[in-house]
């Protein structure tokens, strides 16, 4: 039996500011383990749909800056580690060939 994975986007409660309507959207990821009463839910904000009185619509994404910076730092670390590993292996090969 495979674990069930479900990703959904849900609209939230519509908000009004003057004649402008705001509809927030959130994404949820649900992982349930079949046969076991256990699971995980991860909800995050995705975007806000702005409906202006003149009928114009705008989708404003909600960026998770902290996560982006975290992943960038981890990425730099991994790439740096990989570069060090490759350069050390290259040097060893060169030393062996001498």
């Amino acid at each position: 039996m495979k674990p069930q994975l479900r990703a959904e986007t849900h609209p939230g409660q519509t908000l009004r500011i003057g004649k402008t309507r705001l509809i927030p959207f959130a994404q949820s990821l649900q992982i349930t383990l079949p046969g076991l009463p256990a699971g995980f839910i991860w909800n995050r904000p995705v975007s806000i749909l702005v409906q202006y009185p003149d009928g114009r619509e705008d989708i404003i994404p909600i960026p998770d800056v902290t996560r982006r910076i975290q992943f960038t730092i981890y990425g730099i670390g991994l790439l740096g580690g990989l570069f060090l590993l490759v350069s050390t292996l290259n040097q060893r090969i060169k030393e062996k060939n001498k």
């Binding site: 409660q13 256990a38 991860w42 702005v50 670390g77």
Partner: protein, 155 residues
């Protein structure tokens, strides 16, 4: 095994499995509701013409277990009956029980603030400096470990 630890059936409080399951279901539903869209978008704060909506990511993990056991037969009459080489006496009595348990974890982190004014809507990201610092320290530690490992292997 000490025979004093064995409970008689009337001493054991029986848990209705259906009731236990419904309690678990209710708890599960309560848990799921904590990771709802309403949890992601907080209560809007109005300040003059401005509307501020806090947003957060919500992570929720949970697990439950339910089990039952039983013992039907006679209680051992002799405490030395468990000793190897000696024949066990037939035991009498019945004991059974059931139980359940569970645990969960809910975590929430602010992501951004949505600031809506009659002029327009803008986003103000929330920076979690502690998380960024921890990521930087982890990466620095990893890099330091790799470099020192390579220096050692060169020697």
């Amino acid at each position: 095994m000490n025979s004093k630890n064995i409970l008689s059936p009337d001493q054991v409080t029986q848990i209705d499995p259906e009731k236990g399951m419904s309690t678990m279901e209710n708890t599960l539903n309560q848990f799921i509701s904590t990771a709802d869209v309403d949890a992601v978008y907080g209560k809007p704060i109005k300040s003059g013409d401005m509307l501020i909506i806090p947003t957060a990511e919500v992570f929720c993990g949970m697990g439950f277990g339910f089990g039952s056991g039983g013992f039907e037969g006679e209680k051992p009459q002799d405490e030395d009956a468990d000793k190897p080489g000696e024949e066990k006496e037939p035991s009498s009595g019945a004991g059974y029980g059931s139980g359940g348990g569970g645990g969960g974890y809910t975590f929430s982190r602010p992501v951004a603030l949505v600031i809506a004014t009659p002029e327009g809507v803008r986003m103000e990201p929330v920076l979690d400096r502690t998380k960024i610092l921890l990521a930087a320290l982890t990466t620095a530690g990893f890099m330091f470990g790799m470099i020192s490992g390579m220096m050692k292997s060169r020697r």
